[in-house]
Amino acid sequence: MAALDLTLSPAQNEIVLAPNSTYTQAYDISNNSSESVLLTSLVSSWIPANNRGNIIYLQDNDPTIQFSLSNSDLKLNQDFVLAPGQKRQLVLKIKNLNSDENDHFYTFFIQQKPLNPSLTDKQNLAKIGSHLLISSSNQSNSPTALKFTNLRLSPKFKDIFLPLKINGEIFNDAPHYSLINGQITVYYHHQNIKQLTLFPYTVLPQNSRLLECLDSNNEATICQLPAPLWPGEYQIKFSLNQNGSSQDYNQTFYVLPYSFIALILFIFLLLFLTLKNKQSISSNKI
């Protein structure tokens, strides 16, 4: 059994908080190891690092959102012990002191500390965190402004035997984070031949997320059309469902039998060279 084994639930919460309102969120922390563990809780703020959902932690927390624990026997940053197999609930109280419409991003951390003081400075430690995405707003359903950017299809030469990858990003131009809700529909000769559902990533305000699709296991995967594809004209409709309507963006592409043409050309070239060689041999005999 591992020396340290912690589980934290839930892993993420997305909430809308009206100015000067308070919200409480319960977290379950479990010690799955065979040893007692000394823990503490803290909250850190972060900003997005890239379009893949990675983050960077900030040195200082934004003071306009206040955090405390509602547990009667525990405060934030106060140590507590979890016995082997023990589960404990921590209730985080979040108070929004903002008067503006904006978003704040935090992680509620459970941090391990050395149980034995003689191991201080010698023992590896672990921190496990759950994200809090907070929209400070008076509206529970703010208008969204997601849009497709950097859409491109690869490879450049669309051959019948090559799968077609659909790359791009979704940018959020609104002041609050939004969940992606959309589809990619592919038409061949005006008939719907494939529909891909976009993975419902959360896009932070003035940030973008890579375009990915939902697979059969409800996980994110590359958006692509499997080969073979019939030669001809295709239309792709990129749709985002937001604010009660669907916003569409259309693209056209052509699939050509490049590999087939190359093969025929190669055979003709081979025949041509063979015939040319035969002709030169027969002319030499004469």
Binding site: L6, A11, Q12, I56, L119, N124, A126
Partner: protein, 246 residues
């Protein structure tokens, strides 16, 4: 966990269900009456669970009224216990050994030690793993083993390069497993830990976009000392931070 069902109880509930079924009256809830109590329940689930075999998995609820997904604009109802398995939202992290001991170090000799990290993330969510050392391996701040700069003095806390030369002294690490290839191209590429003592923030050392179950990552710590290294007990600690991809 499997809870065995009492056959008599099961028979009773089956009789109850048949009686209600043949009664002809429209009943959409459960009504229990005794001399002392009357209990009206919206529904009475007889059994539910998550069952496995070699080839199949089944999540079910027996007794649920209107089981299934019902949706309308702005609302979705998932009736039945089977849907709780879709909402599992746990993040788990384990470390096999918290006390890494390199033993006695020999100058100009590569010494390694390993840690096994195991990660499980919620459905539809990947992870970001970060690491940070408290300070370089030291007896005190003036007697320390420097953090590695790798063979060509070109690695840093955010980029890894080749480190196989036993005349390049220092302490560093490599991590292997799915999710690490963007940070370490192979097992011979190393980098130093970000150090709290140098005001360096924790650095990402592995990440994945999709959910993982018991993903195992192996951290390989490496240390090489010079013949002039002062004798003594050198120590530090590493803090591993695991968060989900938002």
């Amino acid at each position: 966990m499997i809870i065995p069902m009492n056959p008599k109880l099961l028979f009773f509930f089956l009789c109850l269900a048949i009686a209600f079924g043949v009664s002809g009256s429209l009943v959409l809830a459960q009504h229990f009456v005794s001399n002392s109590y009357i209990i009206d329940w919206g529904n009475f689930n007889i059994t539910s669970g998550h069952k496995y075999s070699t080839n199949y998995q089944l999540s079910d609820t027996v007794g649920q009224n209107a089981a299934g997904i019902s949706s309308n604009t702005g609302i979705s109802v998932q009736a039945g216990f089977q849907y709780i398995y879709d909402t599992f939202n746990k993040l788990s992290f384990s470390i096999d050994n918290l006390n890494i001991n390199f033993g006695t170090l020999t100058p100009n000799t590569i010494t390694n030690s390993q840690n096994l990290l195991t990660i499980t993330t919620p459905s539809g969510r990947g992870y970001q793993l970060m690491a940070q050392e408290n300070h370089p391996l030291w007896i005190d701040s003036s007697n320390y083993i420097p953090d590695t700069t790798c063979d060509n003095n070109d690695c840093s806390i955010s980029s890894s390069t080749l480190w196989i030369n036993d005349a390049k002294y220092g302490f560093g690490f490599n991590i292997s497993g799915i999710g690490t290839s963007s940070y370490f191209s192979d097992s011979q590429h190393f980098r130093p830990f970000a150090a709290t003592s140098n005001n360096q923030g924790s650095q990402i050392i592995a990440s994945e976009n999709t959910a993982v179950k018991n993903r195992q990552l192996t951290v390989n710590y490496q240390v090489i000392i010079s013949p002039q290294q002062t004798a003594g007990d050198y120590q530090t600690f590493i803090t591993y931070t695991l968060v989900p991809i938002y």
